[in-house]
């Protein structure tokens, strides 16, 4: 019988356009906040896993310098050069393996430090797309959005609705960077056109920030909290490196990742069984595609699904009550933030952006992604204490 693993605490710092401190202090602060929230000291932590990226830090083996600030000094430590949700997977596997019991996971980056958008172009095929210079994360997202809208008759208004919903939710989230009061569809449709149909408010904001979560084995978790949030399922899937070889209008690899996570967690009807979803949507059209991939609606119906209001904070299945990545996107932390936000909702600790129209928020889905047009996806199913028999 596999061990059970819980998330016992999480911490976030206020996301900023330009944080007035060093990256090391940011890590120190988010870890200290985590220790405070968990009511433990760093001596209680066995292992540290970070999500950070050498290109974003301008330093190779970027985690070497965060050993001290994270509390990993003379401890077991490793990192992923990926979204933070994949660091959480790494930590989960360490605990499942039995080699570690308590693992701190953190993700961080500062867009005010690195040359914005260039690191993603350095992921491209150096022999073709990188030489030509036509593909970057926004132009690629625009090609995906155009392809999706054409294939399924999705409108710019429906894309704008995602931004309106998420940025409105963000006004209630004390950590969010981009909050726009009284935002409406017109506000989005009048925002600066970047690569058609992607406008400034359809795209994530450049962000400085960090997030951390604490994961523990069942016995340790029960010692530390009376509100553990259990990892019930996880699934990941990787699509082709070449976006030109993918069907951009559909995110089949997220569908496969979700299928694995649902199977592991025993989820048969996600729309009925899941209480809250936090998605890593870098661009508003992605959220609509992801609704379809997660099986909340059928293929091509993402636009109609948002039209129903189902994913509003007071809808039948709130998606991104925090404001999602459209409200703050510190690369490498974003997927971890999704996990932290789901944990906060399940623990009923989300404050002003707590979902209040449900009797209980007990099962949540957190999503992370990497790469151009969401090449790689990960889905976690998290569950509160109340129905945790396995």
């Amino acid at each position: 019988m596999a061990r059970k693993v819980a998330i016992v605490a999480c911490s976030q710092l206020i996301y900023e356009k330009k944080r007035n401190s060093s990256r090391e202090m940011m890590v120190y602060e988010v870890i200290n906040e985590l220790l405070k929230n968990a009511g433990i000291s760093k001596a209680d932590i066995d292992s540290f896993i970070s999500a950070q990226n050498d290109y974003l830090e301008g330093r190779t083996i970027s985690n070497m310098r965060t050993v001290g600030p994270s509390g990993a000094y003379l401890k077991d430590e490793s990192k992923v050069e990926m979204d933070g949700a994949f660091a959480a997977l790494y930590a989960y596997l360490r605990i499942l393996s039995g080699t570690h019991d308590v693992v701190a996971v953190y993700g961080e980056s500062m867009a005010s430090c690195y040359p914005p958008y260039l690191p993603m172009t350095w992921t491209l095929d150096p022999s073709f797309d990188r030489q030509n210079g036509f593909v970057n994360e926004i132009s690629a997202a625009a090609l995906q959005a155009c392809s999706y809208m054409y294939k399924y008759g999705i409108t710019e208004k429906q894309l704008a609705k995602v931004s309106v919903k998420n940025l409105e939710n963000a006004t209630k989230n004390p950590y969010a960077l981009r909050k726009i009061n009284n935002i409406d569809i017109e506000t989005v449709l009048k925002s600066r056109l970047l690569y058609s149909p992607i406008r400034a408010l359809n795209a994530y904001p450049l962000t400085d920030g960090a997030c951390a979560i604490l994961m523990a084995s069942e016995d340790k978790a029960m010692e530390m909290t009376d509100k553990p949030v259990w990892i019930e399922g996880v699934g990941t899937c990787h699509d082709s490196y070449y976006m030109e070889n993918r069907i951009l209008a559909d995110c089949d690899c997220l569908q496969l990742a979700a299928k694995s996570a649902y199977k592991m967690a025993g989820i048969k009807d996600p729309l009925k069984e899941i209480d809250v979803i936090e998605l890593h949507e870098n661009f508003s059209h992605e959220e609509l595609i992801f609704y379809e991939s997660l099986g909340l609606c059928s293929k091509g119906k993402g636009g109609e699904f948002i039209d129903t209001g189902a994913t509003l904070i007071n809808g039948i299945l709130p998606v991104n009550p925090s404001g999602g990545a459209l409200s703050a996107n510190p690369v490498c932390a974003t997927g971890l933030i999704r996990i932290a936000e789901v944990v906060m909702q399940i623990k009923h600790e989300a404050g002003e952006h707590q979902i209040t129209n449900k009797k209980e928020v007990n099962i949540g889905l957190a999503h992370g992604q990497n790469g151009i047009c969401a090449q790689q996806n990960i889905v976690f199913i998290l569950k509160g204490a109340r129905k945790c028999e396995m």
Partner: protein, 153 residues
């Protein structure tokens, strides 16, 4: 770099240069541009023709070696009008001299797409399924830049 505040920030320019071997397949692909030809490779299992030529069909997990010439004409699968462009030195976005049309193009005889720019048309005329053809450099040298852009047929 953009203006930096003294003391609080330091700027480090990392400017390494990498020499990637493009591999035999890309080398041939690029060299064929000299004679204004576009070559792909066909998967022996699923028959898909990949351009640029890939060494492996990911779906079938087969090595590809069957070279086929594809057409220099094709159709627009998706497009975007760039009202910004990337600042390749400092990062971030800047204003382009004029809006740039970037398209996902399906070339006749191939089963994958390439991203390239469309010229000799207007942002009003561009649409999905528009037929386009490659425009080659006047004096092709067997470089990637020999394929200048695509234009409507």
């Amino acid at each position: 770099m953009a203006k930096r505040e003294e003391v609080k920030e330091v700027t480090t320019n990392i400017n390494p240069s990498y020499d990637w071997s493009v591999g035999y397949y890309m080398e041939r692909f690029i060299k064929e541009f000299k004679s204004n030809k576009i070559f792909g490779v066909r998967c022996p299992a699923c028959d898909k023709v990949y351009i640029p030529p890939r060494m492996i069909c990911e779906q079938c997990f087969k090595k590809l070696s069957d070279w086929v010439e594809v057409s220099s004409e094709g159709s627009i699968i998706s497009y975007t009008i760039g009202h910004v462009e990337l600042d390749n030195k400092f990062g971030g976005l800047k204003e382009p001299i004029e809006p740039n049309i970037i398209a996902l193009i399906h070339l006749d005889g191939s089963d994958s797409h390439i991203v390239h720019q469309i010229k000799e048309t207007s942002t009003d005329e561009i649409r999905i399924s528009m037929r386009v053809k490659a425009v080659w450099a006047k004096d092709p040298k067997g470089y990637l830049t020999d394929l200048c852009y695509f234009k409507p047929i």
